[in-house]
Structure formats: C-alpha cells, structure tokens
Amino acid sequence: MSDARLKWLLLPAGLFVLAVYAWPTLGLFRNAFNETGPTGAMVETWSLKTTAEVLADSFTFELTLNSLWLSLSATLLALALSYPVALFLFRTNSRFRGLLAVVAIMPMLISGVVRVFGWLAILGDRGLVNSLAQSFGLITAPMKLVFNWTGVTIGLAESIMPYMILALLAGFGQLDRTLEEASRSLGATPMRTFLRVTLPLSLPALALAAGLGFVLSMSAYITPKLLGGGRVFVLATEIFEQATTNTNWPVASVLAIYTLVLLLLLLAASNLAARGLKR
C-alpha cells in the first residue's frame, strides 16, 4: 500500500480520539475562561478572572506541593522496589520467566478500588501488619498506616509498580550480562560491578520508569481519595471535588490545565536531563 493510502488506517483511531479526548479537552479550555456567579452557577464569558483567583489562592500552592511530594515519594519507593524485580526478570534464564513477568504486572489487571480495600485489610488498625506487630509485642497501640500520607504513599507506589517494571524492562537496552562478566574478570567485585557497570547502564531505564511513575502518581485520584480518608489533599482530588461536589467547572478546568502544564514542564525538564545522561 502506498503511504498516501496507508494513512487511512489511522482514521478510526483518529475519529475516536477526536470524539472522546480532543473534544472534551477543548471544552476544558473553554470552561477555564468562564466565571462562577454568586449563586454558584457558571457564567459564560471570556475572562482570566478564575485563572487569576486559582493561581493566587495559597491552597493551590499547598496542593501543588502535596502532589509533587506525594508523587516523588511514591515514585522513589516504587522505583526502589521495581528495579530489583525488573533486573531479575531481565536476567533470569528460568523456564518460568514469562509467568513471573505476568505475576509482576498482575496488579494492573485489578481495579484500583479493589486494591485499595486490599491495602485497608493489610494496613488498617486491625489489619495484617498491626495485628502481627501487636502479637509479637512490638507495639501496644496500632500504628496509623492508612487514612494518612503513609497509606497513600504505599498504595500509590504499589499501583504504579507494574508500569514501572515494564518501563524498566523496555529501557534496559544497553544492559548486557557480558559487560558485567567483563567487569568481574577485570577484578571488580560483584558490588563494584553493580556500581560501575549495571547501575550506570540502567540509568536511562530508571529515568524512563521514574518519569512514567511520576506522571501516573500526579494524576492518580482513587488511591489518594480512598486511602487518604479525607485527610490527603492533592491536585487530582481537588479537581474531582470541584467538578463533582461543587460543580464548579471553571475552577476544576483551571486546576486541570494547571496540572497539565506542570506535568509538561516536568517532562521537558526530565527529557533534558535524560539527554544529558546519555552523553
């Protein structure tokens, strides 16, 4: 098929994206220029008043810091847990390699809501961790592990791990067993080999996975909402709050666009950093 005719293959997907993504996004941008009247009803206009108010609000600043901090800690935690798993999957010659890979990314197949209830069963006041710790006499009163930042961080880290493992596996291109063997035959201990060969060659993969995990964390809504127990406020939960509970479309739209711009800026920065790493 010629290239000219080939492009028609993209038509169905193009129409679909246009309908369910581009159109609502345009609506989002339109709403951002509207205002909220004294009754709470939306007033159609073209002004930057809502934007100015949202940006001037110190709560927006707090939400931003919360979102960034939560995403950073969840990403780092998930990265620390995913890297060894991905390394193992990348290297193993086991017959069960395919099966193990599926197990590792299995959580992707489970609904976020179900996962959250799983975490409640593990981290709750009478959950697995607290009962075990109490029965061993390590603690007297249950530790607060859910309905706070700790719980959200743990739950979020777990939910982004499968994506990060896949990203790591995709990024391990330069990593080669023979290079590690060369390092050892040149006198480097296994630890030194990890530091001088494995880790540096994993950096592109780690950057890729971290970027993905961060974006996913920034936009996560279910985990902060349910595991946060109403005490954890981030940009995503606030957008949802404004759009549904308050039906304040202009503010929700401005916050959504604000988050988008924030992510684009971070992505651009990490791209620059990654290019620096490759050199």
Partner: protein, 351 residues
Amino acid sequence: MSYLELSGLQKRYRDAVAVDDVSLSVEKGEAVALLGPSGCGKTTTLRMLAGLVDPDRGAIRLDGAEVTRLPAHKRNMGYVFQSYALFPHLSVARNVGFGLEERRVAKAEIARRVVEALAMVRLSGLDQRRPRELSGGQQQRVALARSLVIRPSVLLLDESLSNLDAKLRDTMRHEIRSIQRSLGITTLFVTHDQVEALTMCDRIAVMHRGRIAQIGSPEDIYERPATRFVAEFVGRANALPATRDAEGRVVLWGERLPVAAPAGGEFDLFVRPQRIRILPISEPVADGMARVTGKVLRSVFVGDHVEVLVEGAAGQIQVELQSGTALPQEGAEVALVWRARDTLPFPRETA
C-alpha cells in the same frame, strides 16, 4: 607441574553436557589453541577458567595453587570476549584503565600504563573516544589492551577475530601473536578456524563433543591426526572407502597399496589433496608409493592453486596442484601417486 593445569573438567546443563572431560596442561608463556566446531564446549571451558562458570567436576590449578572455586574477580585472568564487551558508557581510556582502577593502582601509574597499552595495540590518540565511535578492529584492540594492561596470569581469547573481515583478521592474527610472544604471556585461544589455530599457537587442542580429541603441535595435528574427527576437521582430506584383500592388504580402486590396514571393521583412507601428484599413466612408481588410476573430470583454478578432480573405479579424489604447473587435460587417463606414509587409515564411523 605445568603453569596451568585443567584436570577432568566437566560442565553439564539441564539438557546438554557442554564440557564432558577436559584435561590440559599449559606451560608458562605458551599459546595453546582450543580448536573445534561450534558447540563443542570451547567457550564453556574458557568461562570455567575465568571463573564465570562453576565446573561440576574437575580442578583448575594455576602456578601450583588451586583456583577451581575462586570467584572471577580474584583470578586475574584477561578475558577477551567474542563481542569485545567494551563498556559503552566509558571512554577508551577508562575502559582500558578499568582493571587497574579496581586494583587501586595510583592515578598517574594508571595513566602511564593505559597510554602504554594503547600504544602496544596501535591505538594511541583515541583514548577519549567512546567504544561506539570505533571500528570493529579498533574495538577489538581496545578489548585486547584492556585485558593485557592488568598483566593477567593467563590471556583468554574467545573467537576474538571472528567478527572481523578477512583482511583485518589476518593483520590482527599476526599482531596478537607477536604481542603474545614479546610479553611471554600464557594464552588460551579459542577458535573454530583452523588457520587461526595453526598460525597463532604453539600447540593445538582439538575439541570434539566436550572432550579433547588430540593435543599436539600444529604439525602433529595436521600430519598425524589421532582420530578420524581430527583428520576431517583440520585441513582438507579425501576420505576414500578401502577394503582388504585375502592377505589382509589394503585395496583401493582395485589397486593394492603398501599401507597397513587398521584392525577389524570397515575403514577409509584419508589423503590430503596437496600430497597427491598426477603422473602420466605409463610412469613407473618407486617403492613406498601408493598409486591408483582414474580419469580427470575437471580442473578449477582457485588463484594460488588448482583443484583437480579425478574419477576412479570407486569414487573421486581431489588433488591440489600449485598453480603454474602444467594442467592435466580433462578426460585424460592419469595415475595418482602419493607417499604411502601420507595415507591415514581410520575406521569408518558407525554414527
């Protein structure tokens, strides 16, 4: 006791015996080739030496000390990988200096020795390049320099020339050999290329199915192959089905040959194409010569020699003549003559 001793090495994998039983003694400063077809266990043997694979059985002794279970980083073996395995994130200089940095050699000393090593492999001036900015031949030299600069107890080369083009391979062959000689470094050279083995090494160990079929000088291996496999694998040879007559003498194409037959069973005579001369059919032959007759099928000019195919009563014989000699006419009846002692009888394989 020799400098390097492998005794009874064995390595099995779940579904295959990679190395069955390998014993080998190498003297200090000697270059020994492990020659064999792909899959015969050469790389596995080398990896066991380097400590990258644990043998299931057997022992490795280096300079009197047992090193069989010593981890790779304590062995001081210079391993040149088939793929070169240069670190892509490090400059040529850092690649070459890697082993010295791990040995905590002083910075100035490292710099000096890296320059020296790069000069030895004729790569001076490229020290700040990245491996991917080098040609295959240059990468090969960096890998060699990186292994030599640590002054290894043994240099291990795994098919190191097989990724280079023919011309470059020839150059590298001579360079590596002369470096090896001048440093007096004990070397094990894995290859499936007989020319490499014959030209680069003091001795050759021919491997077959995880075992060593024969160890000897290049001449030994070529002139006096111990097994049928060695005769077939090293150099070219005509394998001619022969029989015994009533008195037990060897008969080929209806002619008796002054050659001793091997005991029992069917057998073939192996004769190298270069050892056979083509004579007019009327020419008498001296004692101790084997002679059969046949018709010239065709002659092919191959540059430095001419291949002549002669058909006889029970098969064909390939003869290699130097180019420049008079070519026999196609279709001519000729006599093929060779020294009886150039005939190698081996039992026919039943496999």
